[in-house]
């Protein structure tokens, strides 16, 4: 048992600041445990969003010592000893209160992505290797930490121009489904704004599920856009073939 000091951002909207609390810690404690102790004994109105406490639901996203993370997965013994632990809300989204941010924009973006669209005569046979490829993207828990850290959304607030890494991952899962027949390349090049990503890989670094967002989702999708709009040979090939191949890996 030792005491650790936390500086927690308290406030609403743009008004607020860090408030310090001391917490008696125990072995194996994570940041979320400590904040719930604060809530229980020192500040019953401390606003925190959390659910599963097992890194499976993606609710408790915040920034600890400036780093976007899930609070339920961030152990105190991994943070520098003797230093104050700073806990702040995700910066890319408007603050509702304390550590809770308004992430509703993400849900609006999702609606603009054409859903899974199988051919009417599909036989529903899928190879395990296709499942494994899609599975990397489908394990996303929608914590929105990748959205939080993305420069386009965080620093430039270009939410009307770019869907963000989370939805590149979602589109990649759909585009790589061997039985899907919808075409999302025009969406990617247009309102989804994939061209704005300059592949700094910050999103990949913060993903708690270890999804290779940049390498496995965004770059292959960028290649599809380039193929379609800028590369004359495949364009000619598509014209001759009269249809777009959807059955292979990107």
């Amino acid at each position: 048992m030792s005491t650790r000091r936390f500086a927690v951002w308290r406030g609403a909207g743009t008004e607020g600041g860090l408030v310090e609390y001391d917490v008696e810690t125990e072995e194996g404690m994570v940041v979320l445990d400590a904040l719930r102790e604060i809530q229980r004994w020192q500040a019953e109105d401390l606003a925190i969003r959390w659910n599963c406490k097992a890194a499976k639901c993606g609710s408790c996203s915040a920034e600890v010592n400036g780093k976007p993370c899930l609070m339920c997965k961030t152990r105190l013994d991994e943070l520098p000893e003797g230093e104050v632990i700073r806990v702040e809300p995700m910066r890319a989204f408007p603050v509702i209160r304390d550590l809770v941010t308004d992430v509703s924009w993400n849900y609006e973006v999702n609606k603009r992505i054409p859903p899974f669209t199988p051919a009417p005569d599909t036989e529903w046979l899928i190879a395990q290797e296709d499942v494994d490829r899609m599975s990397e993207f489908r394990k996303c828990i929608e914590c929105f930490l990748c959205q939080d850290v993305c420069h386009v959304l965080r620093d430039h607030d270009m939410k009307s121009n770019y869907f963000g890494p989370r939805f590149m991952v979602r589109i990649a899962a759909l585009e790589m489904h061997p039985l899907d027949r919808a075409d999302r390349v025009e969406l990617l090049a247009g309102q989804a704004g994939i061209g704005l990503c300059n592949i700094t890989k910050c999103c990949t670094e913060v993903c708690p599920e270890g999804i290779h967002i940049t390498d496995n989702a965004i770059i292959p999708l960028k290649e599809r856009v380039v193929d379609r709009y800028y590369d004359p040979l495949p364009m000619l090939g598509r014209k001759l073939a009269g249809r777009r191949r959807k059955d292979g890996p990107v």
Binding site: V30, R75, V100, L125
Partner: protein, 578 residues
């Protein structure tokens, strides 16, 4: 009306309260039937506890073992439920689960495959054949995300982070709901012709639980207060394997898929103790049996160093463990610093699932209150005395669909809802009242409630313990009327939210305790030390709890049977005796 009691008003054909798998599936079906539908949830969409269902969804597709059939799935479900299940529900569930899973795949759900490209199926406790369709150990996430991505294109209005505190009535029927936005604390009223309760469980009544803060028995309590019957409330499932360390994650679920993939249970002396409790099924015995076995080993002094037992997969290849159980691997690595491919896990039973819930019509999910429906964990009947792993995801698909359809069809015929302003004013006054400190501290009262249930209404029960619990609950219920918070802030204030949630919890835990007191036998998840035997007469009866003139009424009711299914049930009983 005073300014702090102001509210916004919405009107729908159907409102669905709760957005886990059952609520989402119900809302999709309601909208597909042309009803104007709202989906209301306490958390963000896609965060409900369905994501914690890891092992798979049970459906007799016969992809891996062709001998499987709906008949065997039905028999397994009744054997697991110790024959207290509503037979018609178990029949519909077994027959329709395969179609519901195929439909999920057609909506974009992705599951692990057989070598010839069909959906693969894994073994699970109590299932005769390999039956669980799965994707690694995150099947619930796949299910909720698939439904979510389907639902957002159906024209359903979603009210996220919105809590319903009361149902509104017009004579006998329900006509709407009162609630508040968690984010702002402002009030909201929904007028509706049909209401579907899909709020999940009540695990937060116990100290050690796999459930998150959300599972406070809201739907059970809303239904009960509106006049619905609660059935099988004495049966609370303790999942055999919850984490035991570190303290912050005590109770966190360790999926049954660990045992499905070959995990072995050993006590502190290294003995594979399930040989003494169920030599035929061993680790894949039903959850009630395995939970009691672990409890018994530890209380008789054969526990692990931290007071649980060992769950071991170190004999399996590390690559297989990481492929088949990836989230368990990272859960133990990240939270406990244990590499489960090299060291055994330590586990202890955790309060996981309510078999009991609102008594519903099998075909439509209708309760006895006109316009009120229920589905998923907050409904009762499907699982009897003990639920089989994998049967909850199939339950919520099969009955989510049926209930959504039932609610939409009811709304077509129903008259326009009329809301009584006095009921709205009373509901608003209750919530405003909690802001008017000082009074009882909600966090303290919650801890006392959990301790009471943990000590007296856990895996093993006695008349004395249950009677003591009732006395304590009576006192807690009285004190809960005086819950207050110090801060008057209504925006995202967890203390304020808990004041209301505790009203539901004190009600549902009392229903559990009263039902447990009446059932003087041991069966499934209900074990009485003072009545250790299973009693055949009780095997034909459910316990039903209803709201009486002065307090709860608890009574025996005949199990819902189906004559044509008698031969199947008789055959299974004979096979078990042999």
């Amino acid at each position: 009306m005073s300014a702090d009691a102001a509210y916004e008003l919405h009107e729908y054909d159907v409102i669905v309260i709760g957005a886990g798998g059952a609520g989402l599936r119900a809302a999709i079906e309601s909208a597909a039937n042309g009803a104007k539908t709202a989906l209301i949830c306490k958390s963000l969409l896609g965060k409900a506890h369905t994501v914690m269902a890891e092992g798979g969804v049970a459906a007799a597709l016969g992809n891996v073992e062709a001998e499987d059939s709906w008949q065997t799935h039905f028999q397994d479900t009744l054997f697991g439920g110790k024959y207290l299940n509503n037979w018609r529900m178990a029949e519909l569930h077994a027959k329709e689960a395969p179609d519901r899973v195929r439909e999920l795949e057609q909506w974009g759900g992705v599951f692990d495959r057989t070598p010839d490209g069909r959906m693969s199926q894994r073994a699970f406790g109590g299932h005769t054949y390999r039956r669980l369709v799965h994707i690694g150990d995150r099947t619930g996430l796949e299910l909720i995300r698939t439904l979510q991505d389907r639902g957002i294109h159906q024209g359903i209005d979603v009210f996220m982070e919105c809590t319903v505190t009361r149902l509104l009535k017009d004579g006998d029927r329900v006509c709407g709901a009162f609630g508040y936005w968690r984010t702002t604390g402002e009030f909201v009223v929904f007028k509706a012709k049909s209401i579907v309760l899909a709020t999940g469980g009540l695990g937060k009544g116990w100290r050690i639980t796999s459930n998150s803060w959300e599972y406070t028995g809201d739907g059970h309590a809303l239904g009960f207060e509106a006049g619905a019957e609660l059935v099988d409330m004495e049966f609370v499932q303790f999942h055999p394997t919850g984490m035991i360390w570190p303290p912050g994650v005590v109770g966190l679920l360790v999926t049954e898929a660990v045992r499905g993939e070959g995990g072995i249970l050993r006590n502190g002396e290294g003995e594979r103790f399930m040989e003494r409790y169920d030599p035929k099924r061993m680790e894949l015995s039903t959850r009630d049996v395995v939970a009691r076995a672990i409890y018994t080993e530890v209380t008789e002094g054969r526990g692990s160093p931290r007071g649980g037992v060992f769950l071991d997969v170190t004999h399996l290849s590390p690559s297989l463990v990481k492929k088949r159980l990836p989230s368990m691997y990272s859960q133990f690595m990240d939270l406990a610093g244990v590499d489960i491919t090299r060291k055994p896990m330590e586990v202890w039973p955790t309060c996981h699932y309510a078999m009991g819930g609102i008594k519903v019509d099998a075909e439509t999910g209708a309760s006895r209150v006109p316009g009120l429906f229920a589905t998923g964990e907050c409904s009762g009947g499907m699982h009897g005395a003990n639920r089989l792993g994998g049967n909850s995801l199939s339950d919520l698909l099969v009955f989510g669909k049926r209930t959504g359809e039932g609610a939409a069809l009811h709304a077509r015929e129903a008259e326009a809802p009329r809301v009584d302003p006095a009921q709205v004013a009373a509901a608003a006054a209750e919530m405003v009242g909690y802001l008017d400190g000082p009074g009882e501290d909600p966090f303290r009262l919650h801890t006392e409630l959990q301790d009471t249930m943990h000590e007296n209404v856990g895996i093993f029960r006695t008349r004395d313990g249950l009677a003591q619990a009732l006395v304590a609950l009576e006192e807690l219920r009285r004190r809960a009327k005086n819950l207050r918070i110090a801060s008057g802030a209504r925006e995202y204030n967890p203390g304020w939210h808990l004041c209301r949630e505790l009203q539901a919890l004190v009600l549902v835990t009392e229903a559990v305790t009263r039902a447990a007191l009446l059932r003087t036998e041991s069966r499934g998840a209900h074990s009485r030390l003072d009545f250790p035997a299973t009693d055949d007469d009780w095997g034909d009866h459910n316990v039903v709890v209803t709201k009486g003139e002065d307090g709860m009424r608890v009574e025996r009711r005949d199990v819902v049977k189906v004559a044509e299914l008698e031969p199947l049930v008789a055959a299974r009983k004979a096979a078990e005796r042999a």
